[in-house]
């Protein structure tokens, strides 16, 4: 039976062991559905929150601003992610969580989450693993921002998005939806828009991927991974769902 939180179950099953009792417990979790227009925040930097958000459809991102207004997109979050899971223990959020594209999220009250985890302590390990994988992504991403060429850095982003979306069944052939704007992509790369555009153009003209109308299609997975020096091990996916 198709239930709204199924995509969360699929995501958790991709990074650890999801026992039937955990599945049942998550199905019993109350949640409130909220629709977000593009750019609408789910949580603002500095806010104290009493709920987490699970991405049900669309794409969210976390971002921070410098005082001069320059924006850095820290991470993207496809369906199945709980981008602010850490808020269960760090209730004052230190980033802004916003919709990158029109999205639907489920609000999970911290009180309900804590109650569920008290009743099913094994689930704590699984959620903990989820936040650890989140951290692991940032270690690799720091490396890419600090040391990688522009093309390698951008290639890495697309490789990672592909693998994460594949883990929750959102890849169609070799293609996926990615409606981030030029400005978003540049903000995620830590580059000027012009440089990001040029880098994207480089990836397209060398036949690595196609990107138009908000759809990315990977044309040469092997060469894209080689350019990105991409090794999906840091995503800690169980039973090897990585790659094509």
């Amino acid at each position: 039976m198709n239930q709204p939180l199924d995509v969360l179950l699929t995501k958790l099953a991709s990074i650890g062991r999801l026992l039937p009792e955990y599945e049942a417990a998550i199905h019993r979790l109350p949640f409130r559905v909220v629709e977000l227009d593009r750019g609408k925040p789910a949580a603002m930097e500095g806010e104290v929150v009493n709920h987490c958000c699970v991405v049900l459809t669309g794409l969210l991102h976390r971002q921070k601003h410098m005082l001069d207004g320059n924006r850095q997109i820290l991470s993207f979050h496809p369906p199945g992610d709980i981008p602010d899971l850490q808020s269960l223990h760090l209730r004052k959020v230190d980033y802004t969580l916003a919709a990158n594209t029109p999205s639907v999220i489920g609000l999970l009250r911290h009180a309900d989450m804590h109650a569920m985890l008290r009743d099913h302590p094994g689930l704590t390990g699984l959620f903990w693993r989820d936040t650890l994988v989140d951290s692991a992504r940032f270690l690799t991403w720091m490396m890419m921002i600090g040391q990688a060429s522009a093309e390698a850095r951008m290639a890495h982003l697309f490789c990672e998005m592909y693998v994460r979306l594949e883990a929750v069944g959102l890849i169609d052939g070799r293609a996926f939806n990615f409606k981030a704007t030029q400005a978003d992509l540049a903000a995620a790369m830590g580059m000027s828009i012009v440089h990001a555009n040029r880098t994207l153009q480089e990836l397209r003209s060398t036949g690595l991927l196609a990107f138009s109308n908000g759809v990315v299609e990977i044309l040469d997975w092997q060469r894209l991974c080689e350019l990105a020096q991409f090794d999906s091990a840091y995503l800690h996916l169980s039973d090897d769902q990585a790659g094509t």
Binding site: S149, A150, Q182, M191, S192, I193, V194, H195, N197, R198, Q201
Partner: protein, 78 residues
């Protein structure tokens, strides 16, 4: 918002911007171009050659040139 086009020169090669970018005004376009030129040069200069020339030509939505930026790198050993 007005659209600006940023053509990038690297030595003899010129990459025309076919897509353009919406930016608030000429000032922001200049800032973007300046940042982009320094980023591209930072990437490219270490890769090859004792002499590199880079440029960005900024055009408006009528495709008229509104700004030209140039950067030259020259390494001389003794």
């Amino acid at each position: 918002m007005p659209v600006f086009y940023f053509d990038v020169q690297d030595g003899d090669s010129l990459t025309l911007d076919q897509v353009g970018t919406e930016l608030i005004d000429h000032n922001v376009a200049r800032q973007e171009a300046t940042r982009a030129l320094s980023e591209i040069a930072a990437e490219e200069i270490p890769r090859d050659g004792p002499r590199r020339e880079f440029g960005i030509i900024v055009r408006d939505d009528q495709r008229s040139v509104v700004l030209e930026l140039r950067l030259t790198f020259h390494a001389q050993s003794y």
